[in-house]
Amino acid sequence: MKRRLPMAIMFLFAIWGGISVFVGKTPVKEFDNLLRNKLLMIVGAFAIILGLGSLIFHHTQKIKRRARFWQYSYITLFALLITSFIGLFGGVRGEGGLPTIFGGTVLGAHEGLVYAFTDIKEKASFTANPAQFADPTKAVMELPREIPIEFNRFQASLLRQEIELRNTALRLSQQVVPPMISPVSNQEVPYKTDFKISLQALYEGILVPCASTMFAMLAFYMCSAAYRAFRMRNLHAGILLVSSFIVMLGQIPLATAYIPGLHELRQWILDVPNLASKRGIMIGVGLGASATSFKIILGIERAWLGGGDE
């Protein structure tokens, strides 16, 4: 029972999954979409409870045991608590009940962020992207978001002009930003006066810089990895390095201008061994992955059931 039932259920779902791929009839497709995009998502959402439980257990355990560096566990626990509190009660963009954006007028609070808006009706909605102003290099890491603000048509048209002016100024020079007069209060609105602790602010202020820094560290790690491989004097790693060096050097116009045949060699590496190795590996991977899937479906590989027989 303890192994047979889960096995049988798994087998049923495997049969459904295998068949649904090859059946084109709409009801089958619709149910498959429902299963994949909704029902399994709901089932999976419960696993996060266990994950979270594990995380909290891990850190409370560390604190309790006074394990090495246990003090830092407090940081994780508090950060987790505060972030979820802000997110769940304050909303993702500060639209929830908990106030997470402070300072400025309702309009002023967002003006520094506004760069385009759509649908000018009685209620207009803005697409704001602070990255456009704060850090052009960061723009790719940010997601645009919409902030609904209420104002009338006249104010909207005024605001649109202001925004266009401001954007042009920002485009021309990062230095000179003309003062912006709010069409609501008729007063100058200072640039970025508000203070936010919304989830979006945490995302932009903590998660994005941390992620980009970790990602950026790869540049250093690549160098040290290359050096490590070079020192190992391993033939395979050596070939890898030489080939990567050629590909890298072949990207530089100066190098290709002085070294004859470099460009062609680089192109050859990209066209022949690069393609062939990937093709060969992919065919093998396809067979291996399918074999693993079959092993699990047929119950030959049952590590997840705790191995053993019953």
Binding site: L50, A211, M217, A225, P253, N274, F294, A303
Partner: protein, 421 residues
């Protein structure tokens, strides 16, 4: 020393800036990677694959001067058919070039139930597969030939409705390949059951597993196991979890502590079950530390940061990086290497393999990852599937060679026989 390399690369980099970098950062939250580079050199998506009709047409050159064309001829033989044996919503439209004149391009127009034609797409080819239509609704099509000096509209097609079909017969090559493979698998599993001796050669990355765990025992340090950074939807993760079972069995045997941080909550749940059950089946349920398998964080780089921390603080003797990885692979592998641990990595992510090869002591490349649990477990049935994997490779190699010969010697369209949409 390595900073000399960095210095060099920094020096040469301005020159490179002139060119487009092959991969640019993607938004966080999604897994960032340079997978696109794999796609280079692959075939063009089959929809736009050259057809016979297209080669009739060739590339469309600039049109003739206006005076030389007295009348503009419309495209001929416009035919719209429901794409056969698919899951519906698609109609394939083909046409032939005008009898005279050379249009610069064509505009395909579609009319639904309201009868109004609207532009669907512009193309220089003479075929197009329209997708995302309503099943069982009637559509008409026409093609406009665009010349330098005007346009010419073809006749309308009779109404056609996309239909959904029970079997997607367009995937027959896939179905056949799977059937061949299943029979191989069943044959070899049966052979293994009968007790046929199955030879598998030594795989160096896997013979190292035993030594690596033995080393951890001698040093009295833990073993760190990362089951990839993907979810259960990746088969590589499942393969990694199977290997985790084998590694855990050895850690119980040698009485070594295992640390297994996870990025995905479902993978965490399964990994924990596997380790716990292994302790139970090896007769030491009391030795299982519930805190040894834990959930770290679902964010890609936060996970890498956390694992880095574990590596430098716990100083594991052996590190396993098995499963699916993205850009964070090298962050973990390099930190692990700098702590002096023995590292055994394995992944089928082609874009990350070079980094594992440079930073790890042993790397399981591609399918070796899938062979690992069978190899380590030495269970006859699992070895049988490994044999099937090999013979599957032989079969497809055979098909590849024979089809190439057929197409070269007899001019047959052998590649078309295995073409799928």
């Amino acid at each position: 020393m390595w900073y000399w390399f960095l210095a060099f690369v920094l020096l040469v980099s301005p020159g490179l800036y002139a060119q487009e970098s092959p991969d640019s950062p993607a938004p966080p939250g999604e897994s960032i990677d340079s997978e696109e580079t794999i796609a280079t050199g692959e075939t063009i998506s089959s929809e736009f694959q050259s057809s016979d009709m297209e080669s009739d047409m060739g590339a469309i050159p600039a049109a003739l001067p206006a005076e030389e064309i007295p009348t503009l001829f419309p495209p001929q033989n416009v035919v719209a058919i429901d794409v056969p044996d698919d899951d519906g919503q698609a109609v394939s439209v083909t046409w032939t070039p005008p009898t005279e004149g050379r249009p610069t391009r064509y505009i395909l127009e579609i009319a639904g139930s309201d009868g109004f034609f609207e532009e669907l797409t512009r193309t220089t080819l003479t075929e197009y597969t329209v997708s995302q239509l309503e099943n069982n609704e009637l559509y008409r099509f026409r093609v406009v030939a665009v010349y330098e000096n005007g346009q010419s509209v073809s006749d309308e097609t009779p109404p056609v409705a996309p239909r959904d079909h029970w079997m997607k017969l367009d995937e027959i090559p896939v179905i056949l390949a799977i059937l061949i493979y299943i029979s191989l698998l069943l044959y070899f599993i049966q052979a293994a059951r009968r007790g046929v001796e199955l030879f598998i050669r030594r795989i160096s990355g896997l013979t190292a597993v035993e030594d690596a765990i033995g080393r951890a025992t001698e040093m009295g340090k833990p073993v760190l196991y990362i089951p990839g950074t993907s979810s259960i939807e990746d088969v590589a993760t499942l393969a990694s979890l199977n290997i985790l079972g084998e590694v855990a069995r050895r850690t119980v045997h040698y009485d070594v502590k295992i640390i297994c941080p996870n990025k995905d909550p479902i993978v965490y749940t399964i990994a924990r079950e596997i380790v716990k059950e292994t302790y139970a089946s090896e007769g030491r349920p009391d030795a299982f530390d519930p805190d040894s398998v834990f959930f770290l964080v679902p964010d890609q780089f936060a996970f890498a940061a956390g694992v880095d921390g574990i590596m430098v603080r716990e100083k594991p003797a052996t590190i396993f990086l098995m499963g699916m990885f993205w850009a964070e692979s090298l962050i973990m592998a390099e930190t692990g290497a700098s702590t002096g641990a023995i590292q055994i990595a394995g992944t089928d992510a082609v874009a990350q393999l070079p980094f594992f090869i440079t930073a790890c002591d042993y790397t399981l490349i591609g399918e070796e990852l899938y062979a690992a649990s069978a190899y380590l477990g030495r269970e006859p049935m699992l070895l049988g599937t490994l044999k099937a994997q090999d013979f599957g490779k032989l079969v497809f190699l055979f098909i590849m060679i024979v089809f190439t010969l057929l197409s070269l010697l007899f001019g047959l369209d052998a590649a078309g026989w295995v073409r799928v949409r």
